[in-house]
């Protein structure tokens, strides 16, 4: 990897009161690369994602984006820099149509008027879901009426649409069935081809091995190690996760 890393985390530490959630974590992430974060519950994976996306601020250490040190005070600042997050609880507004969810917080307005340009949002949303093969009745469908897989498809489509550089996926398939998971994995692979950097949290080692280039293991806030996916196996990773040889 001779390119400049897109995201550099160096010696990140996060403390909540007396509890250290993440200790001395360092990782480089390159464009077009998928790194998987694995570890048991409470290992600090979600905390890390939240620090990168600006929800939490690290107690110590530096986050650099394309070489520039950044310090986000909230999630919208990270979004403005092209970082998108897909949460396991989807984060879609149930009563709203698909296209409004895709554009929520970044609505398109008519030229010269402070009014919503619904037509062009619907059109763009329709195009987007077709490109990503998210099968929904229409971009005007209400989220409430969609299945879990369709909803996750929308959440990923939204991230795909807006992410310029980096997508953070927090257990994107935790709530999905087998066929739906396969589809989401296909979307993630497509993102990689678009040269987006991807950091994914997953509890499914099969999925991690299918998708990732590198695997980073955390245990109780400690960074246990990083392995290239092609040069490791499940036994090694499980041993690293559990600490049992």
């Amino acid at each position: 990897m001779e390119t400049q890393p897109l995201l550099e985390l160096s010696h990140i530490r996060k403390q909540f009161g007396g509890v250290v959630a993440v200790e001395d974590f360092s990782l480089d992430l390159h464009p077009g690369e998928i790194v998987a974060l694995v570890g048991d519950n409470g290992a600090g994976k979600s905390t890390l994602i939240k620090m990168i996306s600006g929800v939490y601020q690290p107690t110590d250490g530096a986050i650099r984006l394309s070489g520039e040190t950044v310090s986000f005070t909230d999630a919208s600042e990270a979004r403005a820099r092209g970082i998108e997050v897909v949460y396991q609880d989807l984060a879609l507004a149930d009563q709203q149509p698909v296209y409004m969810n895709l554009f929520l917080g970044r609505e398109k307005l008519m030229k010269g008027l402070p009014l919503l340009d619904r037509r062009s949002m619907v059109k763009e949303a329709q195009q987007l879901v077709e490109d990503l093969d998210v099968r929904i009745p229409s971009a005007k469908a209400t989220i409430r009426d969609l299945s879990g897989g369709q909803r996750q498809g929308i959440a990923i489509a939204r991230a795909t649409h807006w992410a310029k550089q980096l997508i953070l996926l927090d257990e994107p398939t935790a709530a999905l069935g087998v066929a739906e998971t396969a589809k989401v994995e296909k979307q993630i692979a497509a993102l990689k081809e678009r040269n987006v950097a991807i950091l994914i949290i997953s509890h499914s080692l099969d999925q991690v091995f299918r998708l990732s280039d590198r695997i980073c293991v955390l245990r109780r806030g400690q960074q246990i190690g990083i392995r290239e996916t092609a040069k490791t196996d499940k036994n090694e990773i499980v041993a690293m996760i559990t600490g049992v040889n």
Binding site: D74, A75, S76, R79, V85, Y87, D89, L90, A91, L92, A93, D94, Q95, Q96, M100, L104, G105, R106, E107, L109, P114, L115, L116, R135, I136, P137, S138, K140, A141, T142, R144, D145, L146, S147, G149, Q150, R158, A179, E180
Partner: protein, 384 residues
């Protein structure tokens, strides 16, 4: 399914690709058109009009004076319902609306009558105070994380108590008169009292479309002088609220803040700001109501606005909004207000005991909510 009359059939031919690997829920355009929050309120309004047309059609209820009568009452409901509607869609309640009405009125009266402040300044100060209290309401809800039901319930009592205390402290009574004299010729007060299109209505009177007074000091003048400013405010607020909610970015944020606040925060919607602004808007609407009333009566009373918060909420719920937020319509709420006004005045015109109004109110509320829920389930097939 094979019955050609069923919407599914119509749908199968509409060119949407058949997908077998996903649990697709097809929703026909007809159904989607019917699943509008206003549907129940539209049916209700038609029903109420037909009902009173039959039992009170010859009582003058639908003559010019009668129309003006229930229009004004409906407009009063509509003004506070618009505020309550946007706030409820944003996921919050304000139970202090009624107390806010009493408070704003007393503030205007004390300032203009007792302290000799120009009425326009008194009105502006009253607006500023009530909106500041609305903001405080909102900030408390956001900061403490308590339900707005509790916070605004506290303000219901605090504001009412303060209003009575202020009034007795300054005038030794709970009614302050002389506001109209103080407001004579005031440019801002004119926006809240009186009527517009006087000339047009005089002309209507002259050509005999509406009756004119035949005796007394107003002989020759039409029985309906013009459109009351109260009605103008109601219409303006309904239009403003409707456009804000359905056509602007901010309106979309209101839906999102009430529908799923966490999801909205994740994508950078300033949920707290939206909610606090909606509390302020509700307070603004309550103040418009209060000042129109003060200008109409020429006096302020500390007990004005009693139970108005609930009437506003009832209008909104009849209008199809969900108590849990994220769903609703300003037009629906306005129709709810219309139903209210027509029922209240219709009972009067039909000679029914006026105390029965509250019985009707409660009954209509339950019927409307059942109808709304039932229709929604029937059409969407949704659970719960």
């Amino acid at each position: 399914m094979d019955d050609p009359g069923l919407p599914e059939r119509h749908f199968r031919n509409s060119g949407i690709p058949t997908v077998t690997d996903e649990r697709l829920r097809q929703v026909s355009p007809l159904r989607r058109a019917l699943v509008r929050p206003e549907l129940g309120a539209i049916c209700g309004a038609i029903l109420v009009f037909v009902f009173f047309f039959m039992i009170a059609g010859d009582s003058g209820m639908f003559g010019p004076e009668g129309v003006q009568n229930w229009t004004v009452v409906s407009a009063q409901f509509a003004i506070i319902a618009v505020g309550a509607c946007l706030l409820m869609i944003a996921g919050e309640f304000d139970l202090s609306v009624g107390s806010m009405i009493g408070f704003t009125g007393i503030v205007v009266a004390i300032l203009s009558v007792q302290w000799g402040v120009p009425t326009w300044a008194a009105i502006l100060i009253a607006f500023a105070l009530s909106m500041a209290i609305g903001a405080l309401n909102g900030i408390l809800v956001i900061r403490t994380g308590l339900p707005s039901f509790i916070v605004s319930l506290a303000f219901l009592y605090i504001l009412r108590g303060l209003t009575i205390w202020l009034s007795i402290l300054t005038t030794r009574q709970t009614i302050i008169g002389g506001v109209r004299d103080a407001a004579e010729g005031d440019w801002l007060a004119a926006l809240f009292g009186g009527v517009i299109f006087k000339g047009f209505f005089q002309w209507l009177g002259d050509i005999g479309v509406i009756d004119t007074f035949s005796r007394g000091t107003r002989a020759g003048q039409p029985v309906v002088e013009g459109i009351p400013m109260l009605v103008v405010w109601a219409i303006a607020l309904i239009i403003f609220g409707h456009i804000l909610l359905t056509r602007t970015k901010f309106g979309n944020w209101i839906f999102a803040a009430g529908g799923d606040a966490q999801a909205a925060r994740y994508v950078g919607v300033p949920v707290n700001r939206v909610k606090i602004l909606m509390f302020m808007f509700t307070a603004f609407c309550a103040s418009v109501f209060a000042i129109c009333q003060v200008m109409e009566f020429g006096s302020a009373a500390a007990d004005r606005g009693l139970l108005k918060e609930f009437e506003a909420i009832i209008c909104v719920v009849i209008g199809g909004a969900l108590l849990t937020g994220g769903y609703g319509s300003v037009v629906g709420a306005a129709l709810g207000a219309l139903i209210f006004g027509v029922v209240q005045q219709g009972l009067f015109f039909s000679g029914a005991e006026s105390s029965l109004f509250r019985v009707f109110l409660g009954t209509i509320l339950i019927m409307a909510v059942i109808l709304n829920t039932y229709i929604r389930r029937l059409i969407t097939g949704e659970r719960g």
